[in-house]
Subunit: 262 residues, 4 copies
C-alpha cells in the first residue's frame, strides 16, 4: 500500500511536470534509450520465432525514465519490427510522436495494466494456440513444472462478455483495458476467453521467458490430462522459493537473442 | 435477391458478349492483371509454407473483369507454382487457353462455387490433417477464438456418398461440384467427408487467412476437447461484430508474403 | 494363380541362368540402371525429410531386370545415402558385391516380401512414431481420408512374439522375414508390434507416397479418436475406385524430389 | 558387489594419489582428451537440435582417466557450448580450474550419480516437455518400442518433496543429488516430479541416443493412451536381448553429428 502511494505520487509529479515543462513532457520528450528499444525489437523477433506470436499480438515495455509511458511497435507483424517502428504511448494509449505510424487497436491492454500495476515493466499479449483451450473451458491452467512456477498462484480468465456484453472480442478502449487489468489483479498472467492471453513481468527478458514457458506448460498440461491419470502441479510455496531470481530467464534470453540475430 | 438478379444479368451480358465479340470473349481475351496473378502465385506459396496445402489442394481467384471466369494453377504442387502456370477457366471448368497445360481434376469445386456464390472471389480446397477429424466424425467444428470468427455460424459437412453413392471421393465433375456448393450454402467453409475442406472469401488474402486460421482453430478445438471439460465457442453475434473489416487478414498477408519471398 | 505360376517360372529361369552363365548371374552382373539407383537415393532423402525415417529404417526397390534381386543402401542413416552406398541383394538377403559395405541387419524384411509378393516392387520399413500406437494397441488403423485409401482393406499387425517367442524384436533372419511376409499377406502395409511398420507398393514413388500418407493418416486418426465422437473411414469400395491411378503420388514425388535437391 | 568394491578401491587410490601428488591431482591435472571434449560439445548441440534440451539442462561425461571427475559445460545454453566452455569437476561438484567460468547450479545431479553408479559414464538432465506428464502423474512411463527398450524395467519418479519437503525444486546440493541418485537406483532413467528427467548410459552417444528416444517414446505413449484401447509394452526379457549392442546408437550418432556440423 505504501509503495503504491509512493508510485502514485511519483506519477503525479511526472504528469504535473508534463503540463508545466515542454522539455520533460510533450512531443519532443527525450526518446527511450537505444538499448531498451533494441531489446524490445529482439523481444518481438523471439516471440515470433518461438510461435508465441504469429502475425498478431504484441509486446511492450514501460519507459525506463517516464513510468507513465510505454513503448510498443506500430501496428505490424512482430517478426518484421525494427527500431524505427517503436512508438511511445501514454496511459491514454495515445502515441506521443506517431509521425503517421498506426497504433495497435488493442494498445489499451498495455496502457491499463501499466496504470494498474506499478510492479509490471513489460507486457505480452498473444493468441498462442496452446492457451485457448484453457481460456475457453472450465479447466484451470496449472504450473506443471518449475519453468512455469510463476503461475502456481493461478491464472484468472477474463471474459469480455461479462465485462461488456456482446462485443467484437477486442480490447479496443480504456474501459475494456481496465476490465482486463481488474481480472489480471496481482497475477502474472491472465487468459482471455475466445481470444488469447496477457503475460506480465518486471523486464523484457522475463516477460519473453514467461510467455515462452507458459506456452510449453500449457502443452504439457494438455498432454498430461490426455493420459487420464491423477496429476499434481507446483505448490505455491515451492513456486515462491523458485521465483527469487530477478534474472530468471537470463540464460534463455542469451540463447534466443543469438538465434534471432543469425 | 435483388443483388443476385443483378449479378445474373451481368453474367448474362458477359456471356452474350462472349458469343458476339471475339475481342471480349474467347481464346484471345485480355489476360488477368499481373498483380492478381502474382497474388495467386504468392497464395499458393503461403498455403504450402503454412502446411494448409502439401503437394495436393489448390487455390483460385475469380477473374476481376470477367466474373464468369476464374484463375487456377495447372495441375501441379502449389509450392512450385509460377505465373506461367496460372490458367483461366470458365464456369464449365474448361481452360480458356491451356496451351498443353493440364487442369486439376477437381477444378469443378471452384467453378460451381463461383457460379453459385456471387460474394465469393477466392476459394481454397485443402486436405489439412487438422480438419479431417471434423469431416469424418459427428463432432462439429466450432469457432474457438476470434481469429476463426468466420465459422461461428457453423461448418457444414459435405458427404459425397449421400450425393452420389460409391465414388472415388473426388469432385471430378460439375454434378459433384454443384452438390458440394449446395452443402456449402452461404457459409464460409465446408468440410468434405474422408477428403478435406473448402474455404471461401471475398479476396485472396482473406481466403488464405481463413484457411490458415481454420487449421489453427481445428487444432485448438482438438486440444480443448482432449481436456475433457466444458467449453464455449464464439457467439455468432460476437462473430458478426468481429467480421466487419474487409481486410481482416492484411497484417498476416503482409508477413506471409514477405516470408515466402525470402 | 496363373500369373503367380508365370512369375515362378520366370524366376526359375533367371535362377537357372544364374548357375549356368557368369555373364547373367554372379558378382559381375550388370548393375541396376542409374535412374533407378538415383530414385532410390532420392527416396531415402525424402523419407528422412518427411520424418518417416530417422537414423533408422530403410527403403528398397526390386531390381528392374533381375526380379530375384533388390537394391538397398548399406547400413547407414537414410538421410546420408548416396549412389555409392546402394547394394544389390539376392533373396537370401546376401549382397552380390558388398566390397566391404555392411548390410542392414533387418534386410530379411525386404528379401522375404519380394519373394512372396510378385506385385511388390518397392518396400519401406520404418519406425514412424505415429504408427506405434496402432502397432502396440488393439485399436485398428483405418483409412481416414482418400490419400490413405490404400489401407481401406485393413492393416494387419505382425507380433514377432507369436511367431518366435522372446526375441530382440528385430527381423534378423529369413524365418522372421517369412513370418512378417505372412502377416502382411496381400495387404499394402503391416504394423509390427513394439517396432514399427512395413509398407509396400508397385514403385518407388508409390511406396514413398504411401509411407508419408500412412503417417499423416495415423496422426489424423489419433486426433479424430481424441474428440470422443463417432467417426467413419473410407469404404473399401470407395478405396478401390480411388486406387486406379498407377502414378497416384506423381505430383507429390515431383515436389519432394525438388525439395530434397535444394 | 565384488565389482563395486573394486571400483571403490580404485577410487580410493585415485583420491589418495590426489593428495600426495600434484602431478596427478590438483589444479594442473592433465586435461581430458580433445576427442572426448569434442564429443561432449557435439552432444550439447545434438540435444538442442533434437529439442531434448532448450536453453536449460545439461549433459556430462565421466573423465576417461580420472573416474572421480566429470566434464560439464559452464552455466550456459547447450546450443552455444564450445570446447572452451567445458569444465572439469570433482565428486563434490567443485570445478578444478574454473578460471571465472560459472558452474551449473544443479551439477550435483551429475556428481552424485557418478559417485553412486560406476557403470555410468555419461548423464543428461533435461526438461523435455514430453516427459513431464509422466513425472507429474501416476501414469508410469513404459517402453513402447524397441528403440526405448532401455526403460523396459521401469522408470522411477524422484519426488524432491518426499526427500526434502518444500524446496525451490532444484537439485542444488549434494544431499539432493544423493536423494536423486537413490531414486534412480540401477535404472537407466528417472523422472523428476515438476521438473524433468535424468538419463544415464555408458557413453556420450548412448546417453544422447537414449535421451532422444526417451522423448520420442513418451510422445508415442501419450498418443497410444489417447486412443483409449488396451496396449502392451516391450517385455523386460525382450529388452534384455535388444540391449546387447554397446554401440546401440552409433548410426544415429553418425547422422546427428553430421547435422549439427552443417
Amino acid at each position: 500500500m505504501a509503495e503504491q502511494r509512493t508510485f502514485a505520487a511519483a506519477l503525479a509529479v511526472v504528469m504535473a511536470l508534463s503540463v508545466l515543462s515542454p522539455a520533460v513532457s510533450g512531443r519532443q520528450a527525450p526518446s527511450a534509450p537505444d538499448d531498451v528499444i533494441a531489446d524490445l525489437v529482439v523481444a518481438n523477433h523471439i516471440l515470433a520465432m518461438e510461435n508465441v506470436l504469429d502475425a498478431m499480438g504484441h509486446v511492450s515495455v514501460r519507459h525506463p525514465s517516464r513510468p507513465d509511458r510505454f513503448l510498443l511497435a506500430r501496428s505490424m507483424p512482430p517478426e518484421l519490427v525494427t527500431a524505427a517502428d517503436i512508438l511511445e504511448l501514454d496511459f491514454d494509449a495515445n502515441p506521443i510522436d506517431a509521425r503517421g505510424r498506426t497504433s495497435y487497436l488493442e494498445r489499451f491492454i498495455h496502457s491499463e495494466i501499466y496504470r494498474a500495476r506499478r510492479d509490471v515493466n513489460a507486457i505480452v499479449h498473444c493468441h498462442a494456440p496452446s492457451l485457448i483451450p484453457f481460456a475457453d473451458s472450465d479447466v484451470p491452467l496449472r504450473a506443471m513444472y518449475h519453468m512455469a512456477a510463476f503461475i502456481a498462484d493461478g491464472v484468472p480468465v477474463f471474459d469480455i462478455r461479462q465485462a461488456a456484453g456482446i462485443t467484437d472480442l477486442l480490447v479496443r478502449d480504456a474501459k475494456l483495458g481496465k476490465a482486463l487489468a481488474a481480472s489480471l489483479g496481482n497475477k502474472s498472467a491472465a487468459l482471455m476467453r475466445h481470444h488469447g492471453a496477457v503475460v506480465v513481468a518486471t523486464s523484457i527478458p522475463n516477460v519473453v521467458g514467461r510467455s515462452v514457458y507458459l506456452d510449453v506448460n500449457a502443452r504439457v498440461q494438455i498432454q498430461t490430462m490426455s493420459l487420464g491419470g491423477k496429476f499434481t502441479s507446483v505448490d505455491p510455496a515451492e513456486a515462491k522459493l523458485r521465483m527469487t531470481d530477478p534474472n530468471e530467464y537470463a540464460r534463455a534470453w542469451e540463447l534466443w537473442k543469438r538465434k534471432v540475430s543469425r
